[in-house]
């Protein structure tokens, strides 16, 4: 498999994630889409690392996975808090701040 295959796959994942963020209404789904996008980047890093022949990319990917985990935790925490107050995580309804 060539580098371009990896890049193509990662690009597809990235676009799926982006599409999901735009179209989904549930906070959870959007979080998942963000994870998709982060992981497409991780895939890139690892692929480049492998093809470049140095390990920096892999290290970077491990960092980013750890960070993504923390990020997800925060995201869910916010969603939970929000659900307690508003009884919904449908993002279409969460728009008291606008204009």
């Amino acid at each position: 498999m060539s580098l371009y295959t990896y890049l193509l796959i990662s690009a597809i994942i990235f676009v799926i994630g982006a599409y999901g963020i735009i179209t989904q209404r549930s906070g959870i789904k959007i979080l998942m889409c963000i994870e998709l996008m982060l992981n497409s980047a991780n895939l890139n890093l690892v692929a480049f690392s492998s093809f470049n022949g140095n390990a920096t990319g892999q290290v970077f990917a491990i960092f980013s996975i750890a960070i993504a985990a923390a990020e997800a935790a925060i995201g869910f925490a916010i969603l939970v808090a929000l659900f307690r107050v508003r009884d919904t995580i449908n993002l279409d309804n969460i728009n008291i701040l606008r204009w």
């Binding site: 963020i21 179209t23 209404r25 959007i30 993002l91 728009n95 701040l97 204009w99």
Partner: protein, 653 residues
């Protein structure tokens, strides 16, 4: 020596002005004695200087002022006779005013302002440079504004004051333009080294101006003199800027006397006389002066015929007589050179005496009957003998009655006849008899209107119920003094002409008279002025005293000519309403206002710039929907746009 105190001639009345203004309330008679004393002082100094310099001396004093210009005093024969006349007549009017204004609570202000008025006029007379002349001239205008509007609570007085100032202002601007043009021409010949100022001389001094005459371009000189004459037209109420003078009757009668006799209106004639060498060097201007003067003399006299306000009749009379003076300068200047100044000034001074007398008599009458309308007077002769007599003397002088050949007559007889003869001489030389025609017809009309006035006021049956009585001595005294001068001033004619003839030579300017010996005019020319004067008297006597003609047909409002005259040739309508209000205010100013508020400010600033921005803000803020997916979309869209932007810029790889 008196010449050392020349500056006091002006300063004394100025000091009196300040003192009267602030202390007048606490002094008896509203502080009237301060200006009287001050002006008497001015008169004494003037007289002293006259005696000192007669027959051929001048007084010159000068200090530098700003920007290469100076303040100075020039007392030559021309100036000194004016000084004496102005201070003397003004002093008499002031004395008269003590009685006339005795009931007015604002007397201190009145006396302060008249004092300043006199000071300004004296300053005009003794200026040695055209700038100071102009400044004093403007102050004269200011004082006339203040005094015509003395009873400012009367709307008509306030309006008349404004009109006087504005109409004369038109002339002043022309005068100023003339000064600008003169200055520029003088500077040019100085920079081009064709001319250099004598040491101690300044650029706008009359002496420098006269010295530079031969070097200034003739066309330019014509423009300059015409612009100067424009100033004189405004100040001396010549056609077409004459409208303010009759309206100026809204002020107290003593003010009218001051304006018409001693101070303001003669300034215009004096300006032309003062700068006469320049006019002589620009014959075209002289022609304009002659024609405007002659036409005004006739034109104003026609209106004098129909006026019913005693002061308005006199006002038109003044306009007409000033026309004579201009006519003298214009016609005689072209014939006899410098002597024209003498002729004109002689009429100016004799006019000052009899016109002051006329106004003061009118004031006395108004004081007595409480109205200005001669239709409501009548039969006053018995009650006011002194006034009636002195006024008759003045009327005779105005009509120029006298006995030719043996040279006995009133002041006007000598002065006016000389002008008419001068106009004839001019006509003979140039074949242009129109000014002469103007002068003769005007003389007839003059005689008619002044005797009409006298007969209507003093003879016949009283037409008002009011109990009239003769004025107090403080008022009749000046009348009698002036009457003496109106009767006998004429006899100084020869000496006066002789004294003034040398005037410009004293300053080193020679004005050559035209070639040819003076031929004595035909007898008919000498007789005609007197004949028309007497004729006028007889016509008036017949119509207004004996009632031999029924005037009711003529003076009905159906008669278009009468209507035209009574409406003063529609001058107030055209001047004030059409040009002043409709054109300037309603059309030009209002459209300017429209452009300013609606287009520059309204359309550009308020609508286009600020409203657009606000509306845009309202629209754009709605993009912020509050839905987070949209935010993400915008972010991603932004990336897409950046991609497109950079790819397009680069052309793709």
């Amino acid at each position: 020596m008196f010449s050392d105190f020349a500056a006091l001639i002006v300063l004394l009345p100025v000091i009196a002005f300040v003192l009267t203004l602030f202390l007048g309330k606490k002094l008896p008679h509203g502080g009237a004695y301060l200006p009287i004393a001050a002006i008497a002082g001015s008169f004494i100094i003037s007289l002293g200087i006259f005696l000192q310099i007669y027959p051929e001396g001048i007084v010159q004093q000068s200090i530098p002022w700003f920007a290469g210009m100076n303040l100075g005093i020039l007392i030559d024969p021309l100036a000194v006779v004016m000084l004496m006349m102005v201070s003397f007549v003004s002093m008499l009017i002031h004395i008269y005013a003590v009685g006339y204004m005795s009931h007015d609570p604002a007397r201190p202000r009145y006396f302060a302002e008249t004092s300043l008025f006199t000071a300004a006029m004296l300053s005009v007379v003794l200026s040695d440079n055209i700038l100071q002349f102009f400044i004093s001239w403007e102050l004269v205008g200011l004082c006339s504004f203040l005094l015509i509007g003395f009873w400012y609570h009367k709307p008509s007085a306030a309006a008349a004051a404004k009109k006087a100032f504005l109409v004369t202002r038109v002339g002043d601007v022309l005068f100023l333009a003339g000064i600008v043009l003169l200055y520029v021409n003088m500077s040019d010949i100085i920079t081009s080294r064709a001319f250099s100022l004598a040491p101690g001389n300044f650029i706008l001094q009359f002496k420098s101006m006269f010295d530079a005459i031969p070097l200034i371009d003739k066309t330019q000189l014509t423009y300059i003199t015409l612009l100067f004459f424009g100033g004189a037209v405004g100040k001396s109420g010549q056609f077409p800027l004459h409208g303010w003078l009759p309206d100026a009757m809204e002020g107290p009668t003593t003010v009218s006397a001051l304006i018409h006799a001693a101070t303001m209106v003669t300034a215009g004639v004096y300006l032309v006389a003062r700068t006469f060498p320049m006019f002589v060097a620009a014959p075209d201007s002289l022609l304009v002066v002659a024609y405007v003067g002659g036409f005004t003399a006739l034109f104003a006299a026609t209106m004098g015929l129909v006026m019913n306000d005693i002061k308005r009749v006199l006002a038109y009379s003044t306009v007409s007589q000033l026309g004579y003076m201009m006519l003298a300068l214009g016609t005689a200047g072209a014939v006899v050179g410098a002597k024209a100044v003498g002729i004109s000034m002689f009429h100016l001074i004799s006019h000052a005496f009899f016109k002051a007398l006329l106004f003061l008599c009118a004031g006395s009458v108004i004081h007595a009957v409480g109205t200005n309308d001669i239709r409501e007077m009548g039969g006053l002769f018995g009650k006011m003998k002194i006034t009636a007599t002195t006024m008759m003397i003045a009327a005779l002088a105005l009509a120029g009655i006298g006995i030719p050949f043996i040279n006995i007559g009133t002041a006007g007889f000598f002065s006016k006849d000389a002008i008419i003869e001068g106009a004839f001489e001019y006509g003979e030389k140039t074949g242009d008899l129109i000014p002469y025609g103007f002068a003769v017809i005007a003389a007839l009309l003059t005689s008619i209107y002044i005797f009409r006035l006298w007969f209507m006021a003093f003879t016949g049956t009283p037409r008002s119920e009011r109990h009239s009585h003769e004025s107090p001595g403080v008022m009749t005294g000046p009348l009698m003094i002036l009457a003496v001068f109106a009767l006998f001033f004429g006899f100084s004619q020869t000496g006066f002409y002789h004294y003034l003839e040398t005037n410009f030579e004293l300053m080193g300017v020679s004005i050559a008279a035209h070639e040819g010996e003076a031929v004595p005019p035909p007898i008919i020319v000498v007789l005609l002025p007197v004949i028309v004067g007497v004729l006028g008297f007889l016509i008036s006597y017949a119509i207004y005293h004996k009632r031999m003609l029924d005037m009711s047909k003529l003076i009905s409002s159906q008669n278009p000519l009468y209507k035209l005259l009574l409406n003063r040739y529609y001058e107030p309508k055209i001047g004030a309403d059409l040009i002043g209000v409709k054109l300037t205010h309603n059309v030009v100013a209002q459209s300017g206002e429209f452009v300013d508020r609606k287009i520059i400010d309204g359309l550009v600033i308020d609508n286009i710039i600020s409203n657009t921005l606000f509306q845009l803000g309202e629209v754009v803020r709605k993009l912020q929907t509050g839905v987070v997916q949209n935010y993400a979309s915008v972010t991603l869209l932004g990336i897409g746009l950046l991609l497109v932007l950079l790819r397009i810029k680069f052309g793709g790889t």
